[in-house]
């Protein structure tokens, strides 16, 4: 592991207009020191009202996409955009929507922004109209009615904006919420571990943001900076900067969403220099069959990791940190495609302003204080759920290559998004294998498919830092054993995924397949694909 590559240095150097290398150096020192005293803000948790308040999705009749002021930093109101719902006389911001499989959701989205928007229900199987993407965006002052059934199994889904070209800005300014679907398996786990929502079963939405000198959210990117994606100067968890959380010595469930525009994390729980074991119990599409013991896992933008942390394994009362371990962010955009050696031309990433908090840098995210508590004797169940059988298609896979045109434009098979074109058509009710091949001259891409979930069959040519975490089963990572809607594909890596295009809809249905680095999505690394009879 090279802690400070030339590219990272160049990225930091050119980001100096925002923060300066002095800023970079102090960040390195503060984060290396894991100074507990810098984490002084209580983690925001879903409450009875306000931010992230839980509410039954079927009770929500209207979501108003609003511009308002919100104290992201304590006592410093900042312009902020939120999904606002009024339910039972309470005003909810980005509410945590709760549902069960089979629930009917009917609600109206009202756009009070000064630009078009549309809500995408990330991970859910919907017809194209209710899926929500740019072709259905509505202008300011207009509304859009959703009516759909929750067809999917229990899992941590989420909802966010998906207009053409400006999804990154809208998500960055605050628009994102969770949609948690629960079922009998979930309730069995709650009982086994004595979990309570918002107390010991906690969503953690990780997002990086930048603030100006007055503490207001700031999203400024030059066109060339869109090439790498937005990297913020502060990491927020549940919109809390430098957060802490007081915990008992027991098992906690953390439903982790990487809601960042572009940044990936290598998640671990650390007490001092010691990494604690934790257990992966679910992914984008819900519970795994068995818990997977881990010490670290990568999470790309839009992905979810559902984990259990047993704080009885922590020693003494030294705080535990959720942190992102250092990793090579692999901004290999200018390497030679055939040999993988560094190119001699201009380094596209050098134009990227990292704002001082470099991609791949070690950083603490959340301080967990361990408090004295009553004895807790529960054990993690060995069986969690049953996944649908993995049925891979026979024959050659459909190849989708991720790359760029050396002019600053990312693409898929050379295609860039055109709302009037669907370069891929699949037959309803059939199975396909897709081979996602990321070029060597590339960067990691979190690839997201609308309309369907998938299973990962194989990873090949993974970089060493990914291979080190792989199982002996076809190079798969532990999270690859779950149902996914987003997969992080590293430079040079090939990932085979299995899709089953069976759904309860008729007629032609168009969906999106795209990179969930939102700046990549906004600049065209997206294609429409059609499901037809």
């Amino acid at each position: 592991m090279n802690p400070l590559t030339r590219r990272m240095f160049l990225a930091a150097l050119t980001g100096a207009g925002a923060a300066g290398l002095g800023g970079l150096l102090w960040r390195q020192s503060v984060f290396a020191a894991m100074d507990a005293g810098q984490f002084t803000n209580r983690l925001r948790l879903p409450g009875a009202s306000g931010l992230y308040a839980p509410v039954a999705a079927k009770d929500v009749k209207q979501i108003t996409v609003s511009e308002l002021n919100f104290e992201v930093l304590p006592k410093l109101p900042s312009p902020f955009w939120a999904y606002v719902a009024e339910v039972g006389g309470k005003r909810l911001l980005n509410p945590t929507l709760l549902a069960r499989p089979g629930d009917q959701i009917k609600l109206r989205m009202v756009n009070r922004l000064k630009q078009p928007t549309i809500i995408h229900w990330h991970g859910l199987t919907n017809d194209e109209r209710n899926d929500g993407f740019g072709n259905y965006q509505v202008d300011r002052g207009k509304s859009f009615d959703y009516a759909f059934t929750v067809w999917n199994r229990a899992a941590n889904y989420w909802y966010h904006p998906h207009p053409h070209d400006i999804a990154g800005e809208q998500a960055y300014k605050g628009l994102a919420g969770l949609l948690i679907v629960k079922d009998d398996d979930e309730e069995k786990l709650d009982r086994a571990l004595d979990l309570a929502a918002g107390v010991t079963d906690i969503p953690l939405v990780i997002q990086d943001r930048s603030f100006n000198f007055e503490g207001k959210l700031e999203y400024k990117l030059a066109r060339e900076q869109m090439f790498a994606g937005f990297l913020g100067e502060e990491i927020l968890v549940n919109l809390t900067a430098r957060p802490y959380f007081d915990a008992a010595r027991r098992i906690y469930r953390f439903r982790i969403l990487n809601g960042s525009n572009a940044r990936s994390y290598r998640l671990a729980f650390a007490q001092g220099a010691r990494l604690l074991d934790y257990y992966l119990i679910g992914t984008d599409g819900g519970l795994l069959e068995q818990p997977q013991k881990l010490r670290e896992a990568f999470i790309g933008a839009a992905q979810r990791l559902d984990v259990l942390l047993d704080l009885r394994a922590a020693s003494g009362n030294e705080p535990v940190f959720l942190k992102s371990l250092a990793f090579d962010p692999m901004h290999n955009e200018s390497v030679d495609e055939k040999t993988g050696t560094p190119g001699s031309g201009a380094d596209p990433h050098a134009a990227h302003a990292g704002g001082g908090l470099m991609d791949g840098m070690e950083m603490p995210l959340l301080r967990i204080n361990i408090k004295s508590s009553a004895e807790y004797k529960r054990q993690i169940p060995s069986q969690l759920s049953q996944l649908p059988k993995l049925a891979a298609a026979a024959g050659e896979p459909r190849r989708l290559t991720l790359g760029h045109d050396r002019k600053g434009n990312w693409n898929i098979n050379g295609w860039r998004f055109n709302m009037h074109e669907t370069p891929v058509t699949v037959r309803r009710g059939t199975r396909e294998t897709w081979l996602l091949q990321n070029n060597r001259a590339s960067m990691p891409h979190p690839m997201h498919i609308h309309g369907f979930q998938f299973r990962v069959l194989e990873r090949r040519d993974s970089p060493a830092q990914v291979k080190a975490l792989a199982t002996r089963n076809n190079g798969l990572l532990p999270q690859d054993f779950g149902l996914l809607d987003t997969v992080l594909v590293w430079p040079g890596e090939s990932v085979r995924i299995a899709l089953d295009f069976n759904h309860p809809f008729s007629g032609d249905q168009t969906y999106m397949f795209h990179c969930h680095n939102l700046e990549h999505e906004d600049t065209g690394m997206m294609i429409g694909y059609k499901v037809a009879d």
Partner: protein, 113 residues
Amino acid sequence: MKSLLNAAFLVSFAVGATNALANHHPGAHQPDRVQAPAAGQKTGKGTGLIQQIDQEKGAVTIKHGSLQGLNMPGMTMSFLVKDKSMLANLQPLQKVDFELTYDGRTYMITKIK
């Protein structure tokens, strides 16, 4: 644009290095060094967001707007404070107004709230 960014970087780096040296200079942040502005000493003021507090060094890192009186654009810098007790009630990511002096070598915060 890039040259401007690099210039800002060089200024920031140079200032950071200067302050880092000052931190290691015996008596560098003794209050009596800054009680009366010396000949040629400049004063300025600004607003910013605290990034980090170093109690031990008696320094605070601030992302600030342009500094009036010092002809300095907005950036993130580490400053010594006149007295470490000035740091007692400060928090990371707090917005502050501050005044400072510059003697050609060291920036020193004299008031912060």
